[in-house]
């Protein structure tokens, strides 16, 4: 898996570098809120307000760009006491602190619509996500760190400022990971999150 990640990052840098010298590009920095859905909403149901992303888009035509994104979100939730069937004939009653960090790196095509004062876009990112999952009970720590493949369709709106190469943006994306985590007898599969983001981007010609 580490080799795949290394190759992926190498290819990402290579593509960005080769395109960078040619055409318009913009980079974005923003605040990301993420909400777990699916199995993982049972692990942590609270939204993550602790997150951000740095992304870049390099245009290959007037409307099509290749984009990349580095993201980060940390999730946490204190769970009230509950009974967990942790094995055959084994049960545990405890309150837990569940914690999770996502650090995705994705790359993919984006399509941009130029409507003047607003620039909608759609994109699909594919890549890898480094996921930390942790369950604390008293001084007991159950955890799993893993690299997972991630698919990230995204739509957004950019609002260019006048007279400066800056724009504000809002976006919403859906992250689907191919992973699993097993803790206290519960199995969580395929982490899915809805991500909302706002931020600033600056254009480089």
């Amino acid at each position: 898996m580490k080799k795949i990640v290394a190759i992926f990052l190498f290819a990402l840098v290579g593509v960005a570098a080769s395109l960078q010298a040619q055409t318009k590009q913009y980079y974005s920095l923003g605040w990301d809120i993420a909400l777990p859905t699916g199995d993982y909403s049972n692990f942590i149901s609270d939204a993550s307000l602790r997150g951000g992303s740095f992304s870049g888009n390099v245009f290959v035509t007037d409307a099509v760009s290749i984009g990349f994104r580095f993201g980060y979100n940390s999730f946490h939730e204190n769970k009230d006491k509950a009974v967990y069937q942790i094995g055959d004939g084994q049960a545990l009653t405890a309150a837990t602190y569940n914690y999770m960090v996502n650090a995705p790196v994705v790359v993919g095509p984006y399509y941009h619509f130029n409507l003047g004062s607003v620039e909608p876009y759609v994109g699909l990112g594919l890549g890898v996500n480094y996921i930390t999952q942790e369950t604390l009970i008293q001084d007991i720590d159950i955890y799993k760190n893993e690299w997972a493949f991630i698919m990230n369709p995204e739509i957004g709106l950019r609002f260019p400022f006048k007279n400066v190469p800056l724009a504000a943006y809002v976006k919403v994306g859906y992250n689907v990971n191919f992973n699993s985590y097993n803790a206290l007898g519960n199995e969580y599969n395929n982490l899915q999150t809805i991500n909302f983001g706002i931020g600033l981007s600056w254009t480089v010609q």
Binding site: R50, S74, T93, Q138, L200
Partner: protein, 228 residues
Amino acid sequence: MNKKVKIGLLSAMFSGLFFTACETYPGYDDYVDEQLISASSYDTKYNFSKSNNQVSLSDTVTYINDTGNSGTEIVTRDSHVNPKNPYTTIIYNAVKSNLETAGFSVVEYGQASYGATPLAASTTLIKSDVEVISYYPWWWYDWGWCTWDWWSCGYIPYVPYPYPYVVGAYDVGVMNVDIFNVAGTNKLKPQAVWSGIVRGLYDGTHTQQEVGDALKQCFDQTAVFPLK
């Protein structure tokens, strides 16, 4: 406010968000550390109906305490007399009550069938600042417990089945209630068919009611209890 100021403020905001996002265990509730947890385990292959729902309950609550330089000390009983320590009495009564609620007919010390029932139950308290305690039901008949250490029990040349309990004790304190199958087996090697553990006794402040509830929960969460 001009654009430079706006951009500066936004940059500062994003920087702040970035750094706060990196905090380890944000919003961690100390209760997670200080709570009592209840764990239970039963042997799914054991047929509890074989016991005729009878269990002999040890009149002793074994107390294992780390006494520093002297190693692990086992505070046992006064040779099968009724418990005199008020806490021992409270614990004994709580265990007895829960066993009865779980459907057992409890045979106490002094009764004719004491020690002759298919099942026998015993309670152990561990208070220690060591990380792990191993202990072994060495002479169940004598209701003595022995830490699996050469200095307290003498050298044990082999580890017979069942293997010693290993309980991560730290400084949190553990109450352990075990029910052993002692029918037709070598009494030096009893098989635990049920264990209940309350963990966290000495971490934080807990009322007697809370400890009692945690012990009760060990029985309540066991699928085969109450016995039919």
